[in-house]
């Protein structure tokens, strides 16, 4: 089954506000997809729905043919746009936590990445900068052998050098069975690693195409096309 994620008429409303409006979307395996759109366009809502943190108002969402639940959470690795660890935790506590709950978590890979980025496993999160905390969180998420990685603003708070390392990590970690969905504003930074892009605006999908197709048909970069489509 090549279809990894399927959205059918997926709608999410917050009271009278519609965040996602009848989205129909299929994400196959083996792709790195940029989920791009201006603030409040519905990117984070879509990612939260995939992870079961929100429930759809209407429509359905399937991961490997299943609605979000404990079984899909085994194969989806999620990086939210906020820090979700307790500040009293040490990095080793987090490693133990992920080892306990995720069968696909590779402690060796995580420790290797921590060492590469110079993060002491014995350090407490409370003693770390915001950027370092984000790096720790991303390392944990990318150290899983998941089918789908959902990364919400993964590089927003880290320095350019670490950004390169993180993007390299994303590319090297995923395989033909997995896909990576990245939501970000920093399009130019990630453009080179993307296979596909999804432009989302006001809860509607404006464009779902491969990066190569955009370059060939539009004759411009994704960043340039984004600025054109979403010009204020």
């Amino acid at each position: 089954m090549n279809e990894l994620l399927t959205c059918v008429d997926l709608t999410k409303q917050y009271g009278s506000k519609t965040a996602l409006d009848s989205i129909n979307l299929i994400i196959p395996r083996g792709r790195i997809i940029g989920l791009l759109g201006p603030n409040g366009s519905g990117k984070t809502t879509l990612i939260k729905l995939i992870n079961g943190l929100l429930s759809p108002t209407f429509g359905h969402l399937y991961i490997n043919g299943m609605e979000p639940g404990p079984e899909t959470k085994k194969v989806v690795s999620y990086l939210p746009e906020r820090t979700y660890f307790n500040s009293w935790m040490k990095v080793t506590d987090i490693l133990n936590f992920f080892c306990d709950f995720y069968a696909d978590f590779s402690r060796v890979r995580a420790e290797d990445m921590l060492q590469h980025l110079g993060i002491d496993p014995k350090a407490r999160l409370s003693a770390m900068s915001k950027g370092t905390k984000e790096k720790v969180q991303l390392i944990m998420v990318m150290s899983r052998d998941a089918d789908l990685y959902c990364l919400d603003e993964p590089i927003g708070g880290v320095d350019p050098a670490a950004r390169d390392y993180i993007l390299q990590t994303i590319i090297s970690n995923y395989n033909e069975h997995a896909s990576v969905l990245i939501s970000t504003h920093l399009i130019s930074d990630i453009e080179n690693v993307l296979d596909d892009v999804i432009f989302i605006q006001n809860g509607h999908i404006r464009l779902h195409a491969s990066v190569d197709a955009i370059r060939e048909q539009e004759g411009k970069s994704v960043d340039a096309l984004f600025r054109e489509v979403f010009r204020c």
Binding site: N51, L54, S55, G69, K73, V76, P80, F85, D93, F97
Partner: protein, 283 residues
């Protein structure tokens, strides 16, 4: 997975609960030393001096306030702050993306909170006992024990051992029911798009009013039974008519408490589960 959740829940909760209760033990030991040793060794401390008496009263007041603070902190932290923070704020982004069911989340919180609240209650009782008990008191207790046991049997119609054996599971059941009502209120309140805390409080107030109403109805039914009015038509009357009245009162009280807890859990649990799965709204 439930076992793992409980393990990590204990790890988090123990960070507050252990120092808090170590503090309680320390205050108890110091207080015991002061009351049983210092005051007895130096009777001048309990003399007619108004300032010394005032100081002793202040120390006693401090002890009572400390006991209340430990009890209240444990209750508020375990029943409200911890589940809310862990499941419905930023930490919820991690907890709700773990491959575990909502049942496991609910039970892990309930089990750890119930265990710590039981320890808390036991330690507070033990603290009061430790503070004031002395050899004379223990001697008197042992002397009076046969009378105490027989009078208990006369009053309630059952042995004290049976009463304790029945009361402990009832205490645990009632604690679980009370915790579940709070969990349910938080889960429902946090499904709203705004004013989540206020909504949770509102749901809790509503649930408490309904529980009190149910309690009143059950007590009224129990009253019909225990009034001795054999013309009463309730089923309870029929069952307990031929039994000893004091035994009836005891068992009926237990049955009503158990029924109350069972109804509460029967309503609160599915609602908590439903709102944590179908209406989860982490914004």
């Amino acid at each position: 997975m439930l076992r793992k959740l409980i393990k990590h829940e204990f790890k988090s909760v123990n960070r507050l609960m252990i120092p808090l209760h170590l503090g309680l033990i320390a205050i108890t030991i110091i207080g015991r030393f002061y009351i049983q040793l210092a005051l007895k060794q130096y009777p001048v401390l309990t003399g007619d001096n108004v300032w010394l008496n005032l100081a002793n009263m202040s120390l006693m007041l401090f002890y009572i306030v400390a006991l209340m603070a430990v009890g209240l902190t444990s209750m508020i932290y375990l029943s409200i702050l911890r589940p809310r923070k862990n499941l419905f704020t930023d930490e919820g982004y991690l907890m709700h993306t773990l491959p575990v069911s909502a049942h496991a989340h609910i039970w892990s919180k309930l089990i750890v909170a119930a265990i710590w609240l039981t320890i808390d209650t036991a330690l507070i009782i033990l603290s009061v006992f430790t503070m004031f008990v002395n050899p004379d008191f223990i001697r008197e207790i042992f002397t009076a024990l046969p009378d105490l046991l027989s009078s208990f049997r006369e009053t309630f119609g059952i042995s004290m051992g049976t009463a304790i054996a029945v009361y402990i599971p009832l205490f645990i059941l009632s604690t679980l029911a009370s915790l579940l009502v709070i969990d349910m209120s938080i889960a429902i309140g946090h499904s709203f798009n705004s004013h989540k805390v206020l909504s949770s409080v509102g749901v809790y107030v509503g649930a408490t009013v309904l529980r009190n109403l149910l309690g009143t109805i059950l007590q009224t039914l129990a009253g019909v039974v225990t009034s001795g009015d054999t013309a009463g038509i309730s089923l309870g009357t029929f069952i307990f008519y031929y039994s000893n009245l004091s035994t009836t009162v005891f068992w009926l009280g237990c049955a009503m408490a158990a029924l109350m807890a069972a109804i509460t859990m029967g309503v609160a649990y599915p609602l908590t589960y439903y709102f944590m799965t179908r209406k989860l709204n982490l914004e």
